[in-house]
Symmetry: C2
Subunit: 280 residues, 2 copies
């Protein structure tokens, strides 16, 4: 019998601080403001508070795509939220996103400031606002939203499940790794079979469904997430790979990936973004 | 050293069938059709293929709410998908939802049949179609969508994380249970702090944000999920409890919970639903 096998949960769960692997110091069983903290604000209609993780990249890619498509009203200021420093628990941030996760957006383009949180909600909000990257014909539009919601419900198994247990947990555990690996491979196969028949997720048009999925499943097959390309045999998903490579070539995507990045190659980092010239 | 501590993942993951606790027999690392299987079809504009799990209940509650509000165009036929028998891998089902999860909807109300999958996508599709349970004012509408997407991204930690490791895994494992319990309690606290200030998630109006969240977080604090009420100390979340109880009183909710249910109290089960009189 191993220790794991003899474990029995208590009647009432008790928090044991610091017992959670990487990021354990910032995770708690409670929500809300931990410190008073003012957020900076720029001149543009959209104020983004984010970090270049997959969920953050969705939104910076969306803004760069909108600007590249000529929607000049989509100018934005992007400020870096240092999640290791706990910026997401500051009072101003929590007022925008009570869930304390990046990305968080303040839409100042109308008469009233509007808070937008959850990356999927932000993508849909911007797509509606600019009537862009969302098909207008009902059937294609529905298919786009199907895959947008699919990403929201599926990627937690990739990030919070597979990624955590494969890369961040204090030690490798066979059962959780097996469980989440099987699910991630199933998800990749769902995408692969769909992309075998369609250029993009919603059909023949690039849309917010692709913008949402690419930073997770595209990055995964491109070998950029969790150093897991060999483990998952990502090259088997050749239609996903074709789709991922095509999107990776887009200039707006290359720009969006750099915004709010504070790790890796320094030349690729752009911790804040306020104007197109910042990329130069 | 325990067995878990000495585990090292292989270079390339290999599937070991049957190694996954409850539901292990239906889970695989591949997607797509497993058998040719025709789905029945009724006379109504909406054909729902589902089961009364939390994700299924979202949609049957939505239909019953629409009908209770006088939207006679929302008549639906609901057929039971037996996930233990693998109905979700049948050819007709996969054609509607390539992800092989309930609920799946076929919208026959227009000129063209439209497939809708992912419970959040279905709720939004119906809310748009009937202009109901979605605020029209932009700020409230955005807040509604924020919480709809929040549910989609958060509940996998409750269902696929906490629920799996607390109730379905072949043996209790301390680390995964601790990890997902902490996150679920944090999520309950997010809701509790928000509902301390608002009657409903989007503000003062009952909306699809509530319809999406209630079958998960409402059922949890009402003690109906995973037998975990004491473990999670759900009564501490008194604003969530107030909200959950208020929604539980709604007639449409009581109806919606019964549809496509094939377990528990037989008098409460309604495995198929074709007309309001079926509830009598």
């Amino acid at each position: 019998m191993t220790q794991e096998k003899t474990y029995q949960p208590p009647k009432i769960w008790q928090w044991q601080p610091g017992n959670g692997g990487q990021f354990a110091n910032i995770n708690r069983p409670t929500a809300g403001v931990r410190q008073e903290q003012t957020l900076p604000r720029g001149e543009h209609p959209f104020q983004l508070y984010s970090l270049a993780t997959p969920n953050g990249v969705k939104v910076t890619v969306m803004f760069e795509e909108l600007l590249a498509a000529g929607h000049t009203g989509a100018e934005y200021d992007a400020y870096l939220i240092d999640i290791n420093a706990g910026d997401q628990f500051g009072s101003d941030f929590v007022a925008i996103n009570p869930n304390s996760k990046i990305p968080a957006l303040l839409d100042l383009s109308g008469e009233q400031a509007i808070r937008v949180f959850e990356s999927g909600s932000i993508l849909l909000h911007l797509a509606h606002k600019f009537n862009a990257f969302l098909p207008t014909e009902l059937s294609a539009r529905t298919e786009c939203l199907n895959w947008l919601f699919w990403q929201m419900g599926s990627a937690p198994y990739l990030g919070g499940g597979f990624g955590h247990f494969y890369s961040y947990a204090p030690e490798p555990m066979a059962y959780p790794i097996d469980r989440f690996t099987m699910e991630v491979k199933r998800q990749l196969d769902v995408l692969d079979q769909h992309l075998a028949k369609h250029d993009y997720l919603a059909g023949d048009q690039y849309s917010i469904a692709d913008i949402a999925n690419w930073p997770w499943y595209g990055a995964l097959v491109l070998g950029r997430l969790y150093d897991a390309a060999e483990f998952l045999q990502v090259n088997d998903y050749r239609h996903v790979l074709r789709w991922a490579k095509a999107i990776d070539q887009r200039e707006a995507v290359q720009r969006g990936r750099r915004v709010n990045r504070n790790w890796g190659d320094e030349a690729f980092q752009l911790s804040e973004r306020h104007a197109a010239s910042d990329f130069a």
